[in-house]
Structure formats: structure tokens, C-alpha cells
Symmetry: D2
Subunit: 342 residues, 4 copies
């Protein structure tokens, strides 16, 4: 059994890790920390876990974390980077669900996250944990930067087209919509049901932190600069991300076959039949990404529709997929479940 520690377990990413790990056959969660909830049982805070965990939150403490095989960070940005170096030295593997190690460029990171980086030397070593892009390096990684939710949906949606070289890379549009759980469990007027229920809006149009992350992914795949406009929106629902992606092309290829081939071996990427419109609910609670590709009216604009559950493939599920790779388990261990519909 792999012994697991979770730092910062009181948010939605934390409880989702606990939900998914409860059904993982080769894992034992030994430590879960929360500075402000020391001593509180996890199933008291999250009663959906009753019967599955006999565990209480503790104050983060190097010794107990160092006894784990792997530590997940489900903390706000800027926390993991202060604890990771010592844990790595102690031989613990790290999966950071926050953004501390997602960008390769230190200056970019500091610009977008507004603070100095505490261990910038690890930015190069850290592996960006998108298995469909980096599977082999993830297997050997000590430190995995788990991707953001929007970057996961967008990158998987665009990867085959970018790789194909058949699209205009200068003006990609990613119009993305997320359920409110993506904004976390912090007390915040903007995510009250009275504020975001029965309403819809864009936000951060001038620049969102996932913009440089997505651009880094696309440029890694393309090997050249990419022009990207990324607009996130807030949906009046809890779970799910839908990315609607627009690209220019002069071709009329068989895009459907290209997508099906590219992802034929991918357990968690499902290319829907031609003409489909994926619904976010078809991935609710599971680690899958479902994709459809259209060329409307036979025109010069391609439209890709890509959906994930932001808390699963967009966070905790992908983190477990990465763990499975790092510990040489079956990649889908604990993750082969059916989406909740309705």
C-alpha cells in the first residue's frame, strides 16, 4: 500500500482527493493537514466521507509527511513551494495541485502570481503532469505540477490540431466556462449562491493566470509561438468545465479520424462520434475528457468542444492518475467509474 499525505485538505480539491482515494485499492491515506482545523475529524467536516475514513486533520508537520510515500498539496498557490524542497530531500514524491511549479519561466511565474518563488531551481525539474502529453517523464518524476483545470480541457482539446501543423497558430480562441467549485471553498461574496446562481458572466478577460500556462503547453507542442485569446466564464452550476475552441484553417481534413487516432490509446480521452455535442454532465465525478470536433458550414474555422469535471480530470483525478504513473500502478486504478447522470 502506498502511504499518502495531503496538505491542505479542507477545500474542494482536498475532499475530492479523499473521495477518490477511498476507492483506490492500493492507497492508504495516513496524514491530512489543516492548520485551522487541527483535531477535527475529516468526516465531521465532510459527512459524505462517513464510514470511509477514521482520520482527523492535523497541523502540517515535517515528520509525519516525511513518512509518506507521496504528498499531495491541495493548498493555495505559494504554499507548496515552501515545503517541497525538504520533502523531496526526504525522498517523498510530490504532486502539487496548486500552481507553484506549473510555469517553467520564473519571471513569468512571479509576474502572474505576484510573489517571489521560493525554490525556482525546481521549476525545471518539475514535470507538468498531463499524462497525455508527458506520460513517460511523469513515471520517473519526483515532483509533478498537476495542471490547472482550464489548461487541461484546452490542451487536450487542441493537442491533435496543434501537432498536425494544419491550423493557424496565430489566433486561437479558447472560450471556457467553469462551474463554481473551480473557485474553491473559501468564504467569498462572489461565489455565494445569491450572487452566481441564475446568472452568467465572463471574468478576468484582461488576463487570467491560466493564460500563460495554456500558452506554455501549446508552444511546447507546436515548437513555436502561439497567439491565444483565453476568456473564462462562471457557470451557475457546481461541477464541470466546457471549453469551446476556435481555430482557423485552410484545410478540409478528416479531423474526426485525426482525433480518434491521436487518442486511440488514451483511457481518459474520449472522442465522441462526428456531430456530437459533449455535455459536462457526461463526465461528472469521473476522470474523463470528452471531445468533439466540428467544421461548421464547411468554413475556415474549426470548433472543438472539450469537457471535463474540473475537480477530477481538472484536479484530484488527474493527480491520482499521475500518482498511478509515478508508482507504476495501472493508470486508471481507482478511477474507472461511471459519470453521474442525471
Amino acid at each position: 500500500m502506498i502511504s499518502v499525505g495531503i496538505v491542505g485538505g479542507t477545500g474542494y480539491t482536498g475532499v475530492e482527493l479523499l473521495r477518490l482515494l477511498a476507492n483506490h485499492p492500493q492507497v492508504d491515506v495516513k496524514v491530512i493537514t489543516s492548520r485551522s482545523n487541527d483535531g477535527v475529524r475529516v468526516d465531521e467536516m465532510f459527512p459524505n466521507l462517513r464510514g470511509h475514513y477514521d482520520l482527523a486533520f492535523t497541523v502540517p508537520d515535517g515528520k509525519s509527511l516525511e513518512s509518506c510515500d507521496v504528498v499531495f498539496f491541495a493548498t493555495p498557490n505559494g504554499t507548496a513551494m515552501t515545503l517541497v524542497p525538504d520533502l523531496l530531500d526526504a525522498g517523498v514524491k510530490i504532486i502539487d495541485l496548486a500552481a507553484d511549479f506549473r510555469l517553467k519561466d520564473e519571471a513569468q511565474w512571479e509576474k502572474w502570481y505576484g510573489m517571489p518563488h521560493a525554490c525556482a531551481d525546481l521549476l525545471q525539474e518539475a514535470v507538468y503532469g498531463l499524462p497525455e502529453l508527458n506520460r513517460e517523464v511523469i513515471r520517473d518524476a519526483r515532483l509533478v505540477a498537476n495542471p490547472g483545470c482550464y489548461p487541461t480541457a484546452v490542451t487536450l482539446g487542441l493537442m491533435p490540431l496543434i501537432e498536425s501543423g494544419q491550423v493557424d497558430l496565430s489566433s486561437i480562441v479558447a472560450d471556457c466556462k467553469s462551474g463554481v467549485s473551480g473557485a474553491g471553498r473559501g468564504a467569498n461574496v462572489a461565489t455565494l449562491m445569491g450572487e452566481c446562481g441564475e446568472s452568467f458572466k465572463a471574468y478576468a478577460v484582461s488576463g487570467h493566470r491560466h493564460l500563460p500556462e495554456i500558452r506554455q503547453n501549446l508552444e511546447t507542442i507546436a515548437g513555436e509561438p502561439v497567439g491565444l485569446t483565453f476568456v473564462p466564464h462562471l457557470l451557475p452550476m457546481i461541477r464541470g468545465i466546457h471549453a469551446t475552441l476556435y481555430l482557423k484553417t485552410e484545410r478540409h481534413s478528416d479531423w474526426q479520424s485525426m482525433y480518434e487516432s491521436r487518442y486511440a490509446e488514451e483511457f481518459f480521452v474520449d472522442v465522441l462520434p462526428a456531430g456530437s455535442h459533449p455535455e459536462t454532465r457526461t463526465v461528472k465525478a469521473i476522470n474523463h475528457n470528452r471531445i468533439a470536433i466540428h467544421q461548421p458550414q464547411e468554413g475556415d474555422t474549426l470548433v472543438v468542444l472539450s469537457v471535463i469535471d474540473n475537480l477530477v480530470k481538472g484536479a484530484a483525478g488527474q493527480a491520482i492518475q499521475n500518482m498511478n504513473l509515478m508508482f507504476d500502478l495501472h493508470e486508471s486504478a481507482g478511477l474507472n467509474t461511471v459519470a453521474l447522470l442525471p
Copy 2:
């Protein structure tokens, strides 16, 4: 492997059976019928099932159903009773998720369901499939009448008190609230999101079909007549039932301990700590019932709060729990999962 047939698989109960059975280690779904969707793949109608079933709907047909070990009916009321006698004769076990076999009294059944009963002789043999009440007879049953959703939440909520003989049986109030999935997947103006979203109402106050079913349960437990007022309401959400139950008593017993004792051995009934308020989301997607009991202001009225997922413990999950008992499997096989929160 137990071979399973499902009659009427295009509603919410049908797709929920498929979702849950996909994770059941000892089951193989061989037949699923739908007269109007003959030939359509189940994962085309319900894309959440992609990757889990290689199965298409077929027209109901005695021969293929007779080859199954057990057949679930997820049909409208009045359908199962026309097919069950032949299937029983062929040695197939039956679990009816509709109401055809729930009432013992033929006249009552015909009054509430507005049609003659096609095989009233089976009403006595049919076992009411609430395991917490009838576990041992279910094990040996050929024909199980799977309980209604409201009756499950109410009966489990009241059972310990009724058994105790410490409450006034003449004036019990069951104020119940259900998510809209309880109304099914039929095209219906009343359950359009434009009609029932962002609104709340009672319905069928003058008399709902679950009233005689709940009363039959309570009177079976009490061994005497029971006065019950049952008012169902429609919640602007998809899954979940919350029953708020009011009973008069002259006692000040340790109700908490009584409930904990009564359900100590029940895997799927969870008595919450004193003072709790169960949320429906803590049972979303799982087969558990969570209960809390209060005696507000030390007065003479007891308040019991009982929540289930109407599609799981209130339908498909309980049906599988019954199947597990009928086939001598572990009672929680395929059902020991964690509720989705948030």
C-alpha cells in the same frame, strides 16, 4: 456471474441501474429493453456509459428475458404485472422498481393506481423490498416489490420510534421534499427547467400514491392503525429526498441511543450525531440513508430528518441491495461508494 435483464431502460431509474451495475463485480447485464428505442446503443442515449457497456436496447421479448437470472422492471406502473407471471414460471427472479406489487390490498391498489390488477394473486407473495424491515424474507423471495422513494425515506426515519411504542400513532406528519428526477424522464411541461427551476411547491396534498404505501409500512411495524398526513414537495434540484417527520410524544427518552442501537448493524443507515442536520448531498449517488432525531425545545414533538438519494436508496441502489440478498452476495456489493460532494 449473475445475468441481468432490465425492462424499460430509458428512464432515470434505468440509467441509474446501469451506472451502478457497471461497478458490480458479480453481475453481467445481458438484456435491456425499450420498445421505442430498439437498436439504439445504451451509450448513445446515455453517453456517461461510454466505455462501460457494449449493449443496445431491444424490444422486450420473453425468450431473452427468460435467459436471465434476474429481471429488473424500470417501467411505468402497470407494465410489470403483465410480464411477471410468465417470467416467474420460467424461474426468473423479479425486482419491480415500479409500484405494481407494493400494496397488499388489491382494492387499495386499484383505487390508487386507477386500473385493474393483472395478477392480484401475486400481491401476497411479493415481498416488500425494504431490507432493513424484511431482510430475511427478501433472501428467499422470487418477486420483490422495490419500495417507493418517499416510503423508503419515511419508513426508515420512523421505524425505531414506531417500534418503541413511545409515540402517538394517531397524528404523524411527513413533510417530504424531492428532487425532480423523481418525476422521471418523460417529456412533461411541469418538470421543464423553466417551470421547476428557481421555484418550490407542494403537490398532491389531497392524496399521493405513496400515502397508502407508507401507511401500510407503518401499520405493519406498529401492528395497529396509524394516522398519517403526507405532503410531498418538488425541489429545484435533480437528486435527493429529505423527509421531515413530526410525531407527538409524552416521553423524554434517549432517542439518539434508540436510533443508534436500532441501526447499529445496518450498513446503509447512518444515524448522525445528536444535533445534526443531514444534507441531501451527503448521500448523492450512494445507497445510504442518513438520519437525525431532535426533540426541539424539550417539547412534546419529535422531529426526525431523513435523507436519501431518490434514484439510489429510493430506487436503483435499493433494487441492487435486494438482488444481493436474493443471490446471497455481500449486501453492499457494488454499492460501497462515496457520495459526491460538492
Copy 3:
């Protein structure tokens, strides 16, 4: 024109007052205060008000408030009582939308609100602002305690029956459900959409502050003690309260006619036809209360269904109705609008 001041305008009650007063023909809002938003334009905080107000929040200040004809308090409990005496001395009329003046008994108030009362001598003078109960005294009042949302829905729903003397007063049950706007606009984990969306729960079963308020109303009407069990619940929607009320009786009167007669002259109380089930959406955004009365199965339990919009008849609308009475305007001035459906 009546000049109006609003103390504490940044919550849902405040913005609803502004919405309704914008359409009131005889009112001019001159001052709106918020200590923490001094200088912020109201239409910057609430863009739905763009084009209707050229006003910014100011720090509360005796002088500007004293220049108003009437001041509404849309503040947390315990604020109004510190400012009201001076304003009354200055000749300003007061309508308090919080609870500071709702209970007549000082000890009860201090028990339920957990603080000493700053001007308990005013508790007797304050008029409980339910026009259907206290219309004539409201006309002459200097200080009106605007009722709570639950107490409004419950009291209007029960008034004719209590007055009739034909029901058992010892065991009334009020099972009430409220949209989340009733919990206010404060940053609070419990009312995040991720917490209360797609879920339902009871709360404060052991005792809610509206219990003594409702009981005081019913006992005032009855002239004798009343036994009441009150259980509030949180609905996954924004606006609306539904009270389901249960009373015992030995009679079979024509309750429908009794209700219609009692409310025949009331503009804002609408008794629905026999057999109806009021939906909360039929009062969305308006000051009406819609009621239906049932005697299910000809039994000994009466069921009354009573709906209001918690922010209108349950708060801001009723406050304006009171203002209209206090200033001898038409009682429905500014309030005769149509509910939003769908």
C-alpha cells in the same frame, strides 16, 4: 416627495429596497449608508441600478439621516437600536427590517439575540409591522418593527384559522423552506453555491430566532398560549419562502370560504382556488402572499400552504407597505407589479 434614508444598504435587503423604491412615485432616496463602502456608487456595487440612482454610499451620520422623513434600517441585528432613539427624537420615522424591535419581552429578546437591548423602553411602543394584523396602529406609528420573513409567511397562513377558534392550538407544525437570499450577502462558506446548490437541509431545528416571533404573533391573535414546532430549511434557489402548516381540528368547516372572507379586502394576500398548490415563483419579485388550504383525505389535519418572496413581502416590500401606511399613501404605491415567471 418623501425623503428616505437607508442605513446599511449593501445587503440583499438594501438593494431590494432600492429596486422597489426606484419605481415608487412619491419617494426620493436621499441617503444610503455603508461604513465600509464610503464613496462607492450604489450602481457600481449593484449594476442593476444603473440609470436609476445617482447616489453613493456614505458613512452613517446623524445629521444627514435626521433630514429624512423616514429611515429604513437594513442592518444586522443590534445596530438599529443604537441609533433609533436619537432619530425618533429628531422626528424621523423608523422602519427596522432587522429584529431589534420585534419581540415585546425584553428577556426573551436578550435570550434569543444574545446581547443586552440598548433601548428596551421602546419595545412596547414599537409596532409590529404586519399590516394585515396591525394596519391601524401602523398608520400612527413612529417606530415599526418590520416582520421576519418566516413569521410573515406563517402568520398570514395561520391567522384565519387561529382567529376561528376551530383548531387545536397545542400542536401546530410550521415546516418552512427558504431560498438562500434569506441568509444574506455576507461572505459565508455555508451559502456558497458549492455548498448549498443541488442540496437541501433543515437547520436550527433546536430553536431558530423566528420561533419566539411567530409564537408571539399567534398568541396575540389567539389570546392564549400556543404550542408551535417550527423547522426551517434551506432551498437550493435564491428567492422564495414556502410554509407548509399543519393543524389539528375536529371540524369540517368551509375553510376555503373562511380564508377568502378573511382576506377579501387585503390587496397583498391572495387565497387561491380550492385544491391549489402555490408555487414560490408566482410571487417572485412582488409583495403578495398566496395561500391555499387543504384538508387531505377528509382527515383531522389541516394543511395550509403559504408562499412569499422573502425579500419583498418578507422584507423590503413589506417595509414599503408600512411606509405607505405611515405616510398616508395608497398602500400598494410602488408595489403593484407582476411576478416574474418563468
Copy 4:
């Protein structure tokens, strides 16, 4: 008083017309038709109208409709065209809320609506009822084609840029999201709350009927062909449309001032301050369009955000705005209300 007839009053557009006309000071609704609900009172079907109308549905009948000054068609596509010629001959003015007269090109209309047009000769006379584009011709029109909901949001959002000649017209993207009321009140599995609640999807990516309508508008404004990709999505909420519009440009103009100038005299178009993100709830129940324009990261892509209430500015409200123009009333008569927030 203008006497009004409404053909087809049982859908969401019909009840919204009734809601808005109830508050219009110069209008008297005399006839409302519904073939299948002959004799049913409108306030029985829509209880939010209780107290506002003493009117029942009747079977459509030339004589009663011909006695009206204006007739609104709130019918499915293809109905108005069969009745309009006779009504025009009788001197009645017509506002069609369906699509029968929106496209100028008969062949296009027949291609997209899949039926022959019954009075194609009127397509040229019909005035496209977007007052911000066609105000003066609307004043004199006999027959107004009320715009579609998406076309209203998109056209108003793009008009100043198209007029400016400073954007690339060859590749405009309109990523649009609508609440479910846009899909109407017909019984339909796809718009059940169990289907579209808590989920999000695109639809009709290959081609939606509003595509040629939007393109016709943009080409009318531009005076040249326009390349448009239009993708509609279904939001899990009832009211509201959000259009996110992407255009390429090589300029860095003061777009904010351009928008503010263009719409300075428009009562119903509100250009928000620079950097804003309009929420659909800020136009809930009102006839306003709120717009923001961004040039993210100083790049070559402009992003315009445009919101309306699909049932008001996208249907019934705009129809009344057109009526006001046609009858020389104040353009905002009956429409100057405040959006419902929260």
C-alpha cells in the same frame, strides 16, 4: 388606449408579453388566443397574472383580431405568415416574435426553416425590428419582424465595431450562451431540469437558424460579406443570454469611447465602464442590453461581452419597444423597470 391582440399566448414569450403589458400605461390587451386552451383563464395557466387580467384564451378568430390596433404573434415559426396578410389588409399592425419575416431572402428562409413561405412578397416590406438599427423605419412600419434573441445580443454587441471599419470582417466568432427559457415551454426531454440542470453544452454547432439572421444584420451594417462562426450553448439557468464576441483588428483605438458615443442616445443599451464584465442577472426582467469591450493583453483580438434577458430585449420587451415606436409613444413606456438582483 391601444388595443392589443396576442396570438399564441401560452408560451414563455406570451406570458412575458402579458407581464410587461400589465404595467404599460397606454395599452389594453383585448384578445389572447390559444387553440388548445380555449376558455381557460390566463391567470389560471399563469398565476403570476392574478389580479392583473380578467381574460381567457380564445380560439384565433379573424374578427376579434381585426378589431385590435396591433397584434403580436408569439407562435411557432410558420404560423404568423398564414394570418398576417388578412390582418394587414384589415389595417392591423403586426409584430411577429417568431422568425417568419426576419430574413429578406426567400430561398434562405426556406432553406433554414424547412418549409415554403406563405407570403414571401411581404419579406421586403417587413421591417427588422431592432430599434437601435432601424428606428425610423420601424416608426412607419405595418409589419415588424421582431429579432431573435441571439441576433439581438450579437448585433448590438458588434454594431459599433462593424460600422467603424476597423476590424477584420472575415473571421468573427460569436460564442453565445442562453438560459433554457429560450427553448420555449413545449414538453421536451432535452429541457427537463433533470437533463439540463447542473450541466452545460453547445448545440447546433453545424448551423443554427440564427446564423443567417445575424449574418444578414452584420452584412447590412457592413455593406459587404462577413465571415461569422456562431456557436450557441445552453446554460443551466432560466433567463439570460451572454454573447462573447471575438474580432481581429490591427488597431489600438479607444474602443470604449467609440461604444459610449455610438450608444449615448440609446435608452436600452448600456456601455459599462472599461474593464467591466456584465452579468446576465443585471438585465434580468428588463429590456436593457449591457455591453463591455476589452482588448486583452493589448493583442490583436477584441473581446466584446453583451448581455440581455432573452425573454425581454430578446423577445417580448423589444416587441413592446417596437410597438411604442409604431404608435408614437415614448420608446420606454412600460419598460423602465429595474432588473431583479439577486
